[in-house]
C-alpha cells in the first residue's frame, strides 16, 4: 500500500510567520503534488514536482514556494502566512510507467492563520 504522510494534521500560525508543511511518500514515486481544498472550489493545484530538484507552478502558486531535495520528500513553504491561506492542504504522489494515473493523497493538514 502506498503511504503518504504529512507532518501535521492541524496547525495554527500567526500572520506573517513562515510556515513549512512536509510531505513524505514511501513508494519511490517520481511525481509529487501540493493542493489546497476550499469549500465550493474543490482541490486546486499549488505546485508539483516531476523529480528531485524539479518544480512546476500549478494554478495558484502565489504566496507559496516548494522544495524537493530528496525523492521521497516534498515541502510546501508559506513565505509570509496570510489569513487567506487558511485552508486544508493536501499532498499527493504518483508513480510513472505504471499504466495507471491515479494520485495517492496524504491525510491533509488543516492550517489556520490568525
Amino acid at each position: 500500500d502506498v503511504k503518504v504522510t504529512q507532518s501535521s494534521r492541524y496547525l495554527v500560525k500567526r500572520t506573517g510567520e513562515k510556515v513549512f508543511l512536509e510531505c513524505v511518500q514511501d513508494m519511490d514515486h517520481e511525481n509529487m503534488f501540493w493542493y489546497r481544498q476550499d469549500p465550493g472550489l474543490g482541490l486546486r493545484l499549488i505546485y508539483f514536482s516531476y523529480d528531485v530538484k524539479m518544480k512546476e507552478k500549478g494554478d495558484i502558486p502565489e504566496g507559496y514556494s516548494v522544495s524537493r531535495e530528496k525523492k521521497e520528500r516534498f515541502s510546501l513553504i508559506l513565505e509570509s502566512a496570510s489569513t487567506n491561506q487558511t485552508s486544508m492542504y493536501l499532498c499527493a504522489s504518483r508513480g510513472m510507467g505504471e499504466g495507471r494515473r491515479e494520485q495517492y493523497f496524504g491525510p491533509g493538514t488543516r492550517l489556520t492563520v490568525t
Binding site: V4, R9, N31, F33, Y35, G40, L41, G42, L43, R44, L45, F48, Y50, G58, L90, A92, R94, R100, R101, E102, Q103, Y104, F105, G106, P107, G108, R110
Partner: protein, 112 residues
C-alpha cells in the same frame, strides 16, 4: 475558467437506492477521468477511473459512464450504503502529464 464542473453541491439518497453523481468538462483534450471519495479530515481516496477510449468502467457497486460527445461523465453507486456518505470529486487529465483538474465536489448523504 472551471474546466471540470460538478454542478450539484449535494445529493441525498435513501439506502439501497442508486446514487448518480454528475460531472461536466470543457476541455476536449482530456483523455482520462477519475473519481475520488473524501471523508472529513481525511485525504481523498481513489475510487474508479476511465480512459477516453471507453464509455463505461465497472468496479463492484461503482460504475463510471463517459459520454465524450456531451463532455459528461457520471458515477453510479448501486446499491447505496450509509458508509458511502462522503464528498465525491471528479478529476480529469491529459497526455499523462500528471496534473489533475478537479471539480468542486458533490457531498453525498445516504440515509438509512
Amino acid at each position: 475558467d472551471q474546466q471540470v464542473k460538478q454542478n450539484s453541491p449535494s445529493l441525498s439518497v435513501q439506502e439501497g437506492r442508486i446514487s448518480i453523481l454528475n460531472c461536466d468538462y470543457t476541455n476536449s483534450m482530456f483523455d482520462y477521468f477519475l473519481w475520488y471519495k473524501k471523508y472529513p479530515a481525511e485525504g481523498p481516496t481513489f475510487l474508479i477511473s476511465i480512459s477516453s477510449i471507453k464509455d463505461k468502467n465497472e468496479d463492484g457497486r461503482f460504475t463510471v459512464f463517459l459520454n465524450k460527445s456531451a463532455k459528461h461523465l457520471s458515477l453510479h453507486i448501486v446499491p447505496s450504503q450509509p458508509g458511502d456518505s462522503a464528498v465525491y470529486f471528479c478529476a480529469a487529465m491529459y497526455n499523462q502529464g500528471g496534473k489533475l483538474i478537479f471539480g468542486q465536489g458533490t457531498e453525498l448523504s445516504v440515509k438509512p
